[in-house]
């Protein structure tokens, strides 16, 4: 039979010879990820066990990973208490893949998982975070679930009643112009197909632009596939996936690449030529309200944010530092930078990117989710406008419903920091 990547992965994980979109399966889970909301998962996990007389044990502690990132260090006593409960549970259940608030192994879950080689091609990965789609960049089927569903995974080791999603094939062709990148391609796609254009579906990424793209860019594509509603984004694993896992994640065991069949059946196919793509901006308050940078050039911004699980990686900081080196952030704006992990932070420190950025006037924050979701640092004032490399611009996202958020690439963010207004990085020199 002819299969897409997700059909192959789910067939294998559920012990079937083949599945097709619409089938209902119960795949075994290879990796189950949570962050601070593990506090709620623990509560629901104990509810499942209540009255059973069974000893409360997770199905396989080696397949569970918990990473503190959403509010690190804790912004409130309530968060600190939740984190304390999770730490105790991690100890009791002997969960080793735990990333506490530490400068040597902390960071955002969606950076830690690839960085530590926890995700492999062909795996089924679930996470209590919608942007778990990110890990499809390594050829896995990775999707977000709620805390109660995660509690059931912790108890049983399988994802219950999963409907095999249909697949949309997206082909990116051509070469990006200078300072145009994966973020622009995915924003453009979301603008084309809308915020629910891939709801209940997988987006499989193909094309020579994806073949040439480093894993850091593929992570951006799959991260933001969520913003088109996708269950997961998937880049079929290839030589670049192997290179990343071996060289950057330190994986030494065999890596098997699951590829789709040539004539696999796709619900639809979308082709985008990236060679004439301009920098793209998602305008308030919808991620699918996407315009070319020239349509919004000159819009004054009060706060610029570079970071997050979308664009807080070393490549992103290198682009921003390259544009800002020897220049100044406009006095009328403020630039906040938060690397995606402490490993990224340390590498950016060694490369001199952080000092370039700080000398230009940027405020460097600790690695973590930072101001992306408006719970911790970098809140916006009434009527203020932000420009951010994060992934969501919903009303109130950055902590204030009376503010506006525009989304962009790191190059646009850096060029705009100099101008104090939305600017085209191709003109920034």
């Amino acid at each position: 039979m002819i299969r897409t990547v997700v059909e192959k992965i789910l067939a294998r994980a559920s012990g079937r010879s083949g599945v097709t979109a619409g089938d209902v399966v119960e795949p075994r889970v290879d990796l189950a990820m949570s962050h601070e909301n593990a506090a709620l998962v623990i509560h629901q996990f104990s509810e499942i066990y209540r009255g059973t007389g069974l000893d409360m044990r997770v199905w396989d502690p080696s397949r569970i990973t918990i990473i503190f990132d959403h509010r690190t260090p804790a912004e409130s006593a309530k968060t600190a208490t939740n984190q304390k409960k999770v730490r105790a549970f991690v100890g009791e259940q002997r969960i080793d893949k735990f990333h506490d608030i530490r400068g040597d192994r902390g960071g955002i879950c969606h950076q830690i998982l690839p960085e530590y080689g926890y995700v492999r091609p062909g795996q089924v990965v679930v996470g209590t975070d919608s942007h778990t789609t990110t890990h499809g960049a390594l050829g896995a089927f990775a999707f977000g679930i709620g805390a109660t569903e995660m509690a059931a995974v912790w108890a049983l080791g399988t994802a219950l009643n999963v409907e095999v999603p249909g697949t949309i094939k997206v082909i990116l062709r051509g070469r990006f112009a200078a300072r145009v990148c994966a973020k622009d391609a995915i924003l453009h796609l979301i603008g084309q197909i809308s915020a629910e254009g891939a709801n209940f579906r997988v987006i499989e990424f193909h094309g020579d632009a994806v073949d040439r793209m480093p894993t850091s860019g593929r992570l951006v594509l799959c991260n933001m596939a969520m913003e088109a509603g996708a269950t997961s984004g998937i880049v079929p694993a290839d030589e670049e996936t192997r290179r990343y896992l071996r060289e950057e994640a330190g994986v030494s065991d065999d890596i098997e690449c699951v590829r789709p069949d040539e004539d696999a059946s796709y619900e639809r196919s979308i082709e985008i030529d990236v060679s004439d793509l301009s920098p793209q901006i998602a305008c308030p308050h919808r991620v699918d309200n996407v315009k070319s940078v020239d349509a919004v050039e000159g819009v004054k911004v009060d706060q610029i944010v570079i970071g997050s699980c979308t664009n807080g990686r070393l490549d992103d900081l290198a682009i921003a530092a390259g544009i800002l080196r020897g220049r100044k952030v406009a006095a009328s704006t403020r630039l906040l930078v938060f690397p995606a992990s402490w490993r990224v932070y340390q590498a950016a420190l060694k490369e001199g990117y952080l000092s370039d950025l700080a000398e230009s006037g940027a405020t460097i924050l600790n690695a973590g989710c930072g101001c992306c979701l408006g719970v911790h640092q970098g809140a916006l004032g009434d009527g203020e406008v932000a420009l951010s490399t994060t992934n969501r611009n919903f009303q109130g996202r950055m902590g204030n419903p009376d503010s506006e958020v525009y989304l962009c690439s790191p190059a646009v963010a850096a060029a705009s920091a100099i101008a104090g207004a939305i600017a085209d990085p191709r003109k920034a020199g």
Binding site: N37, T79, T128, S130, N161, V162, F200, V375
Partner: protein, 187 residues
């Protein structure tokens, strides 16, 4: 109150309240950034059993389950043109009543009647006192919404079978509990 399409979980339950996790505590923050709506919910001016009539892609964004438990705590029903995947799954798992109704049209204050499935509500097949109290299962096996204020009648889309099974069990906790007890014992 008109909220339109793409109502995100940031609007239903703002991120800054995410450290509050328990279903008993989340309802106070429902729609916190729309203070007028939040205060009407807290004062019970919006009666339990009221229907939120929403547009497309309701519950898009974050997977935070608080967005579901907050609405469930106010005993609201959500009838939307369509739902975002994770929100819908969370609603099924926690027993928040949701119906997908692509043609639905209503204005604030309209009287709407929801008829779902045959013989609704179904007897609860779940396994404990606790789950009987927590979940009131509704078989969403098709049906319709009638807007008595406008005379409009709109068909529902039945839940996909996998979600229906969890609804029938009274939510994911009792469903998973039954599965856990059936698990072969390791000797």
């Amino acid at each position: 109150m008109k909220l339109g399409d793409d109502v995100s979980t940031d609007i239903i339950y703002p991120g800054r309240f995410m450290a509050t996790v328990l279903p008993a505590e989340t309802p106070r923050h429902a729609f916190a950034d729309i203070p007028q709506f939040n205060s009407r919910l807290l004062k019970k001016e919006i009666a339990p059993g009221s229907v939120i009539v929403a547009g497309k892609n309701f519950g898009c964004g974050s997977s935070r389950e608080q967005a579901v438990s907050a609405l469930k705590g106010h005993e609201l029903v959500v009838a939307a043109k369509s739902f975002a995947r994770i929100f819908l799954q969370n609603a099924v798992n926690l027993g928040l009543k949701t119906v997908a109704c692509p043609g639905i049209e209503a204005s604030e204050g309209d009287e709407v009647e929801l008829t779902v499935g045959q013989g609704c509500p179904v007897p609860n097949a779940s396994d404990s006192e606790n789950s009987r109290r927590e979940f009131s299962p509704v078989r969403v096996g098709g049906g319709h919404v009638i807007n008595h204020s406008t005379g409009g009648r709109f068909d529902l889309i039945p839940l996909p079978r996998p979600r229906q099974e969890i609804m029938d069990a009274g939510g994911l906790i009792p469903y998973a509990r039954v599965r856990l007890l059936k698990r072969p014992k390791i000797i």
